[in-house]
Amino acid sequence: MSTEARAQTFPAADWGGGVLPYRVGHRKLGMWLFIVSDSLTFSALLIGYAYLRASNVWPTPFPFYPSIVFSSVMTFCLLSSSLTMVFGVSASSRGDKARARKWILATIFFGLAFIVLHLIEWNHLIGEGLRPFFLPEHWVKTFTTTEGIPPSPLFGATFFTITGLHMFHVFSGTIYLGVVAGRVKKLKHEDVEISGLYWHFVDLVWMFVFPLIYILSVDVGGRLAR
């Protein structure tokens, strides 16, 4: 057997060019690489937040209503939007483009519901007096330690940056899905699947933002209300 002939049967021929070694198209691979880099962006932000939190007195101001109720319903919306998206991709793989479009439109609906609820929730906090570099007066009074150390004013900065960047991802996702839903009959199945990858990633990021930002900042004893 000649060397060339042996190279043909060698499994590494996958990497010799002219084939798709990962069995995915280059656009899908591109989306995966984007997701990897974007995960690092969010990890860096969340680790920065954890750093600030561990090195400062940190306020825990979120009441059950509105903050936790709103953020839980938002989580439910985002999880459900992922389910409708996966139904859409599944329909598209069977060639049922009309049904795929309906499911993608349902996904956009849940995404927009998430944004609206989140903006209402932001509005509550801004109304209370929270700003990127200032805490409301009564928060400072409540969360100052017995040693007289005031809570860090960076609470607002981390909160608005992380949830804002996430909301921006959801917003761009709804536009992206809108374009996909409009052109679904012209697009290949894999392109629909790629838009699904992006949408599930947005959902995945929220699975870390929700516990770290909301659950860990619950005002357990109702200290603010007192």
Binding site: G18, V19, L20, P21, Y22, R23, V24, G25, L29, W32, V36, S39, L40, S43, A44, I47, A50, Y51, L52, R53, A54, S55, N56, I68, S72, T75, F76, L79, S80, S82, L83, M85, V86, F87, V89, S90, S92, S93, E147, G148, I149, H189, E190, E193, G196, L197, H200, F201, D203, L204, M207, F208, F210, P211, L212, I215, L216, V218, V220
Partner: protein
């Protein structure tokens, strides 16, 4: 040339619905835990554990990575895990800066001088 890409999308709607139910259930556990008083490092560990399980479910089933080729999984996942662990390298420094804090004390109020 085999540039044909598989159009088959593995997984039934029933499977995806059960994954969704798991995700909702784990979220409810997280919300329940929020009102259990416990030291913050236990809380953080449990919450991050649950979040990693949820993330794995989303990536494996919804993002379909479980059904992709092993070479793609090995290209994407380990690099991400290693990079995030490397980012965490700075975290212990937060304990140092926490210890450096100036312990602010209200100055003793000056006693009013008695008028003689």
């Amino acid at each position: 040339m085999s540039t044909h890409v598989e159009e088959h999308f593995a997984g039934s709607n029933k499977l995806f619905t059960s994954i969704w139910a798991w995700l909702v259930g784990l979220t409810l556990i997280e919300i329940f835990l929020a009102y259990r008083p416990m030291p913050i490092h236990y809380m953080l560990t449990i919450l991050m554990g649950l979040s990693i399980i949820k993330a794995a479910l989303i990536v494996a089933y919804f993002m379909h990575l479980k059904f992709e080729r092993l070479s793609l999984i090995l290209t994407i996942v380990p690099v991400l895990v290693i990079c995030i662990c490397l980012l965490l390298m700075f975290f212990p420094d937060s304990f140092r800066s926490s210890g450096l804090r100036y312990k602010f004390k209200e100055p003793e109020p000056i006693a009013p001088k008695s008028v003689e």
